[in-house]
Symmetry: C2
Subunit: 414 residues, 2 copies
Amino acid sequence: MNSAEIITVGDEILIGQTVDTNSAWMGMQLSMRGIRVNRITSVSDRREEIISALNEALGRAPLVLMTGGLGPTSDDITKETLAEYFGTRLVMDYEVLAEISERIAKRNLEMNENNRRQALVPECCRVLANRSGTAPGMLFEKDGKIIVSMPGVPFEMKHIMQIHVLPMLESMSGGRTIVHRNIMTYGTFEAKLAERLEGFESQLPDSVRLAYLPAHGVIKLRLTGSGDDGENVRWTVEEQVRKLYEIIPDVIYGENEVTLEETVGRLLLDSKLTLSTAESCTGGRIASLITSVPGSSAWFTGSVVAYDNSVKTGVLGVNPQTISRFGAVSEETAREMAEGMLRLAKTDYSIAVTGIAGPEGGTPEKPVGTVWIALASRNGVTAERHRFADDRAINISRSAYTALNLLRKQIISR
Amino acid sequence: MNSAEIITVGDEILIGQTVDTNSAWMGMQLSMRGIRVNRITSVSDRREEIISALNEALGRAPLVLMTGGLGPTSDDITKETLAEYFGTRLVMDYEVLAEISERIAKRNLEMNENNRRQALVPECCRVLANRSGTAPGMLFEKDGKIIVSMPGVPFEMKHIMQIHVLPMLESMSGGRTIVHRNIMTYGTFEAKLAERLEGFESQLPDSVRLAYLPAHGVIKLRLTGSGDDGENVRWTVEEQVRKLYEIIPDVIYGENEVTLEETVGRLLLDSKLTLSTAESCTGGRIASLITSVPGSSAWFTGSVVAYDNSVKTGVLGVNPQTISRFGAVSEETAREMAEGMLRLAKTDYSIAVTGIAGPEGGTPEKPVGTVWIALASRNGVTAERHRFADDRAINISRSAYTALNLLRKQIISR
């Protein structure tokens, strides 16, 4: 198995009511195991569409992973279509039925006809038990090719992939090695980064490719190496990664999908330092990012979301005159918020953010996107002014990440 | 134009480093205009793959929207491939060049070769100016069919769609009408909902379809009607929507992609009520959701993220003995957090959440996923115990939405 295709089934994908996140997850898992994904296809819940997409995919690859259309409701027809495609009938799988009954009972619900129908499977398939949901996965073989159908609910699909499909693929893996390395950067622009890496790109060996993947201000640099000699591929990629660290050390914050909040958490944990935040325009986003990391109670004490000025003065102790003189969005207010939070939470660091996220509230002097970020510690307070975008969601997200990056730089320069 | 296909280009999609959100957005826009999306295809940054996907899509539909592969870096080859496909050469577009220079100057950056290369366009295309980025969109016509290529950066694609592509499609729209209505529900399970809607489903006219779209605890019910008589289609769907409100009024919180945070914000605004939150396990997520809604400063005062017990006692005024006697995750602590926040922020409502998000911290009596939610107002405090999942991310998200839903029900029952 050196290549595969992914088919996601569901009208909700085509009309844009569901973003297909399953394909990305499956693509990454396959790719990490040296299996190239040729193509991802999304089709509607219609018999002919499913059949033609499956035929085409099997014409190009020996492995096809499908998700979707296995739910308990009448718009889900993948199972019936696959039974027809493989010329077989649906039969009751009593093991699956018992598992479904048990799951339903645990939730204190009653078994109904829809639940029972989920235990029907095509007679020729291998059933892949799904312990995180009610629809089982199904594996079919045809002319030496493998077709796997899984539920569209992401964590059910992931469960079936991890328990059944990935171990099977690992046991079948062939010779070719593909190695990906992701270098995570923050605080620069794509064109600027490309300019700094012009020389690097021109010296890259043919077996290694570089891609720029920007998202929310983070630019991921992906190095992909491939070849038949696994050891050599890994070594070549490793060498190029080392060069990247030499050329752009200032913007690299981590590797392999690590987030800024994870990097900051790790730095705080390793240095036994603690953090609190005082947030106005980010509205709790920084705290939410930090606490999304398991174990964050070891380095994060809490946050005051001071959306209203009364909370800035009443809880954080910002001087009302500071606000009336300089404004809620000002260096002075940001500094006092950070200092106030440091006193209140007794942490090693406090980050404060105050800005105009938009769409309302901008002025000629302080347009939408103007944000002050202050960082307080026992050694004093530093503050930075930023001008992000015209878009509320972007302003909130950039403010939060830029604040985390400011803290990151401060910790590593200690 | 009654049908279309979408092609997204980029290795990063196939290897799962980028989730393709563009297709969903474009699919929704097309669908809302009565244009059915047959298929979404994602292919790699390789010439042959792009060409074969384009050929296949044009064989099935008169309109193909493409995104990706137009960036300034060397892995981006869509533009060159399209020039080849349409048998033309790349020429410098001086209008685009001037726009790029201006954008670069505004950011205080210097123009480089990569930026200049973005102003090269295939000679036969119509350039679709991109005022939110540096890569322009391109429109090609071939045998009466239309092909549009746009950058992969979501807000640049959306800009080009809104300014150029959608107005063009609207001016060309044919006879058939497709109407979607989305009814948003929270607080039930898919199989349970399907059971309650069995009778409803069996009486649906042939021209209307129902789909269940669960995501993060929200189940979206999508009704799709189609037919040649637009007025009749709209009326038929409307009638079915009315029936839904009669059968499941308890779980419907809104329509058409509205979020719980938007619904709650609208309810608070309309009733001139204010809210504050005191969050432990949700770590600021509720505040972050609420403040993602523009204008939220009118109804939201602030939040105390009391991650550490010292913040629960020191800032929120929770009695230390309550925590030592009942635990930080208890009805008593949740109630005192909500009451403390109500005093501190002087709002009409305060929501407090305390729970065990996991993966660590569970006990036999209080397993991971145990969450107490309290809601305080001048009329007193109510509290609910929940048991969500074993997964940290799900526990945080469910806790936040369940808290918002509790508030929603309280407001509408006033």
